[in-house]
C-alpha cells in the first residue's frame, strides 16, 4: 500500500506560472521520505495540493488509496501537516491551539485533552500550555506545529522544512523524535528540507524536484552510490607548485594551508596520498567538503545560466 500516489500532477497559478509540470511520485506506507529541491522548485506547491490547501490544475493524488477529490475527508483525516510558515493563531494559548485541531478532526473534548497533553509533554511544551503562542521561541513554535499535526495521530506526517531556523540541539532532538515516530509507530513521514544532511541522516527514499518536475526519485543509498565524485578539503603543511591535475584527481589550491581535491568514483584515497607524497605535500588532516547528497543534489539542479537558487 502506498501512503501517497501522485500521477500527472500539474499546477498552474494565475499569471500562467507553472509550478508543477507533471509530477509522478509514490511513497510507500511506513517510509521516511525526503522531497528535496531548490527554492521555487515546487515542493511547497506539491505539499499544498496533497493537503488540499492548493487547488490542482490536473492530475490525481491518492492518500492511502483515498483520492483527494473523491474522498477528501478520508484523505485529510490521514494526514498531519507541519507547514513551513507558522500558521496558528498567535493570540491563542498553546493548549487551545492543539485542542482546536483535535476538534476539527472529530476528537471528543476528553480525548482531545488526553492526546494534547501527551504530545505537548513529548515535545516539551506542556509547561507552556497556557502561554500565548506568540510568546514562544522559534523552536517552540515549530514543536507546537508538530504537536498540533500529531494530535489526531495521522498515518502520514508531512513536514515542510521543519528544522528551518532551529538550533542544532533542537534539530537533533527533532530528528530522533521523528525517527522514533517512524520506526516505532509506523507513521509515514515526508519531509522537505534544505539541510541535505537531514535527508541523508533520516530518510530512506528521496525525490529531487526542480523546475516543477521530479528529476530524481529513489533510495538515498542508491542515489549516493551514483554520486560520481566527492570533494575533500586537505590541510597541508608544505607544498609548492602542485599540479592542477594529479593523476585522476583535480586539485585546487584554496590558500597556503588548504587544498581541495575532487576524488572521482573508483579511485581511493590511498592513490591520492601516494601522489601527494610524491609531489612533496604533507597532509595533516582531511574532511568532506560537503555531504555527498548535497554534492549530488547541486550537480543535478545546477542551471548553466542562472545557478541553482
Amino acid at each position: 500500500m502506498n501512503a501517497l500516489s501522485i500521477a500527472g500532477l500539474h499546477k498552474t497559478y494565475s499569471g500562467d506560472v507553472q509550478a508543477l509540470k507533471g509530477i509522478d511520485l509514490t511513497v510507500p506506507e511506513g517510509d521516511f521520505f525526503a522531497l528535496l529541491g531548490p527554492n521555487g522548485a515546487g515542493k511547497s506547491t506539491a505539499i499544498g495540493v496533497i493537503t488540499s490547501l492548493v487547488n490542482k490544475t490536473s492530475g490525481s493524488v491518492e492518500v492511502f488509496g483515498f483520492d483527494i477529490d473523491k474522498h477528501p475527508e478520508a484523505a485529510k483525516a490521514s494526514i498531519g501537516l507541519v507547514p513551513q510558515e507558522f500558521n496558528f493563531n498567535v493570540f491563542e494559548q498553546v493548549l487551545p491551539v492543539v485542542l482546536n485541531v483535535a476538534g476539527y478532526n472529530g476528537l471528543s473534548r476528553r480525548d482531545a485533552l488526553t492526546r494534547a497533553e501527551y504530545y505537548l509533554k513529548k515535545l516539551d511544551l506542556w509547561d507552556k500550555r497556557k502561554t500565548p503562542a506568540r510568546q514562544l521561541s522559534g523552536g517552540m513554535k515549530r514543536r507546537l506545529m508538530i504537536a498540533r499535526a500529531l494530535v489526531h495521530e495521522p498515518r502520514l506526517l508531512i513536514l515542510d522544512e521543519p528544522t528551518a531556523g532551529v538550533d542544532l540541539e533542537i534539530r537533533r532532538s527533532m530528528w530522533s523524535f521523528l525517527s522514533e515516530l517512524n520506526e516505532q509507530h509506523g507513521t509515514t513521514i515526508i519531509l522537505t528540507t534544505h539541510y541535505l544532511e537531514e535527508a541523508e541522516a533520516l530518510c530512506r527514499n528521496v525525490a529531487i524536484i526542480d523546475g516543477g518536475k521530479i528529476v530524481e526519485h529513489g533510495e538515498v543509498a542508491q542515489l549516493l552510490s551514483r554520486s560520481m565524485m566527492e570533494t575533500f578539503v586537505l590541510d597541508a603543511r608544505t607544498y609548492s607548485d602542485i599540479p592542477v591535475t594529479l593523476g585522476p584527481f583535480t586539485v585546487r589550491v584554496r590558500d597556503e594551508n588548504r587544498l581541495e581535491v575532487d576524488v572521482p568514483q573508483g579511485h581511493t584515497l590511498n592513490e591520492l596520498f601516494q601522489l601527494l607524497s610524491e609531489a612533496g605535500v604533507e597532509i595533516t588532516s582531511l574532511r568532506n567538503k560537503t555531504n555527498r547528497l548535497e554534492e549530488f543534489f547541486m550537480r543535478l539542479v545546477k542551471r548553466p545560466t542562472t545557478g541553482a537558487a
Binding site: 500500500m1 497559478y13 499544498g48 493537503t51 488540499s52 490547501l53 492548493v54 487547488n55 492511502f64 488509496g65 483515498f66 474522498h71 477528501p72 475527508e73 478520508a74 485529510k76 483525516a77 490521514s78 494526514i79 501537516l81 507547514p83 510558515e85 507558522f86 500558521n87 496558528f88 493563531n89 498567535v90 493570540f91 487551545p96 485542542l99 482546536n100 485541531v101 483535535a102 476538534g103 476539527y104 478532526n105 472529530g106 476528537l107 471528543s108 480525548d111 488526553t114 492526546r115 501527551y118 513529548k122 515535545l123 516539551d124 514543536r143 498540533r148 495521530e153 532532538s173 527533532m174 530522533s176 523524535f177 521523528l178 525517527s179 522514533e180 515516530l181 516505532q184 509507530h185
Partner: protein, 294 residues
C-alpha cells in the same frame, strides 16, 4: 523530545473501528471507504469546536467586542431618546424613545454579527490559521455554520445587553416575543453571512472596515431606526424600500411594538431571501476556495 518512552494514550476512535482503507477491506465488500469515517460525528464535534473558539475569541477581547457597542447604544438612548426625544412628539403613537429602542437593539445585532465574522475569519486568513480547518476533514458547510454561530452569539449577546440597558430608558415589552426573537436570530444570521463573504474577499484591513463603515452604518441609519418612513416624501419612501435594513428594523419593531412601516411577512420574506442568497454565495466561495486557496 522522545517518541517512545511511554506508550501513546489509547483513545476511543470516533467510529466503531479504525479508518478502513481500501486495502484492508474484504474484496467482496464493495463498501465505500468514505463510510468508515463517521463524518456526522466529525462535523458535529468540529462545529462545537469552531463555536467554542469563536466565543472564546470575542470573550477574550470583550473590551473591544462587547463594551463599545453597549456604550454606543446607551449614548443613543440617552441623547436621542431622553434628551432630544423628550422634545419630539409621538411617533406612530409611541413615545420617541420607545419608537427608537427596537432600531437601536437591531443596529447592535447587525453590526456585531457582521463585525465578529468579518474580523475573525479575516484574521484566520491573514495569519493563515484557516489552514487548520482546510487540512482537516471538516466540510465547508460546517465551517460556514460554525462562523455563523459565532457571529450570532456575539450579535445576540450584545443585542440582549442593549435590550437590558434599554429598560432603564423605556418601559416597552415585546408585544410578539416569538416574532421579536425570530427576526433577531434571522437578521443576525444574515449579517454573519455577509461578514463571512466580506472576509473571503478582503485582502487588507481596509477591506474589512469599508462595508461596515460606508454601507452598513448608513443603511441602518436610513433604514428607519430613528424615524418612520411615512414621514418621508413619496419618492424617498420608494427609495427606502430598496434598503434591506428597513425590513429587519421594522420586523423587529413589529415584534416589540406591534406596529411597523412594512407588513411583517414581507419582512420575513426579504430576510429569508437574503439568507438563502448569501448562504449560497458563501458556500460557493468556500467550495471554490476563493480567497483561501491558491
Amino acid at each position: 523530545m522522545n517518541a517512545s518512552d511511554e506508550s501513546r494514550p489509547v483513545v476511543k476512535p470516533i467510529d466503531s473501528g479504525e479508518l478502513n482503507t481500501p486495502s484492508t477491506q474484504s474484496a467482496d465488500l464493495p463498501s465505500s471507504p468514505r463510510a468508515a469515517l463517521d463524518l456526522v460525528a466529525i462535523n458535529r464535534i468540529a462545529f462545537q469546536t469552531i463555536v467554542r473558539k469563536e466565543i472564546r475569541r470575542f470573550a477574550r477581547i470583550w473590551v473591544q467586542t462587547i463594551v463599545p457597542p453597549s456604550i454606543n447604544a446607551i449614548l443613543y438612548m440617552l441623547i436621542f431618546g431622553s434628551l432630544i426625544g423628550s422634545r419630539i412628539s409621538d411617533m406612530g403613537g409611541f413615545r420617541y424613545i420607545d419608537f427608537i429602542v427596537p432600531g437601536i437593539i437591531m443596529m447592535a445585532v447587525i453590526i456585531n454579527s457582521y463585525s465578529n465574522v468579518v474580523s475573525s475569519f479575516f484574521a484566520s486568513k491573514m495569519q493563515n490559521y484557516i489552514e487548520e480547518l482546510l487540512v482537516s476533514p471538516v466540510s465547508n458547510i460546517t465551517i460556514v455554520f460554525g462562523y455563523l454561530a459565532g457571529g450570532m452569539a456575539r450579535g445576540l449577546l450584545v443585542g440582549s445587553l442593549v435590550a437590558v440597558v434599554s429598560l432603564f430608558f423605556s418601559d416597552i415589552r415585546p408585544v410578539h416575543p416569538f416574532i421579536t426573537l425570530t427576526v433577531a436570530v434571522l437578521t443576525s444570521m444574515m449579517f454573519s453571512l455577509g461578514g463571512l463573504i466580506n472576509a473571503v474577499f478582503a485582502k487588507s484591513f481596509d477591506d474589512i472596515s469599508i462595508v461596515p463603515n460606508f454601507i452598513l452604518t448608513p443603511l441602518t441609519y436610513l433604514g428607519g431606526v430613528f424615524y418612520s418612513i411615512s414621514m418621508l416624501p413619496p419618492f424617498w419612501q420608494t427609495v427606502s424600500l430598496f434598503n434591506p435594513m428597513l425590513y429587519m428594523i421594522n420586523g423587529f419593531r413589529y415584534g416589540i411594538l406591534g406596529t411597523s412601516d412594512i407588513p411583517i411577512w414581507t419582512s420575513f420574506l426579504v430576510i429569508v431571501i437574503f439568507i438563502a442568497s448569501l448562504g449560497t454565495i458563501a458556500m460557493m466561495l468556500l467550495n471554490r476556495g476563493t480567497g483561501i486557496k491558491h
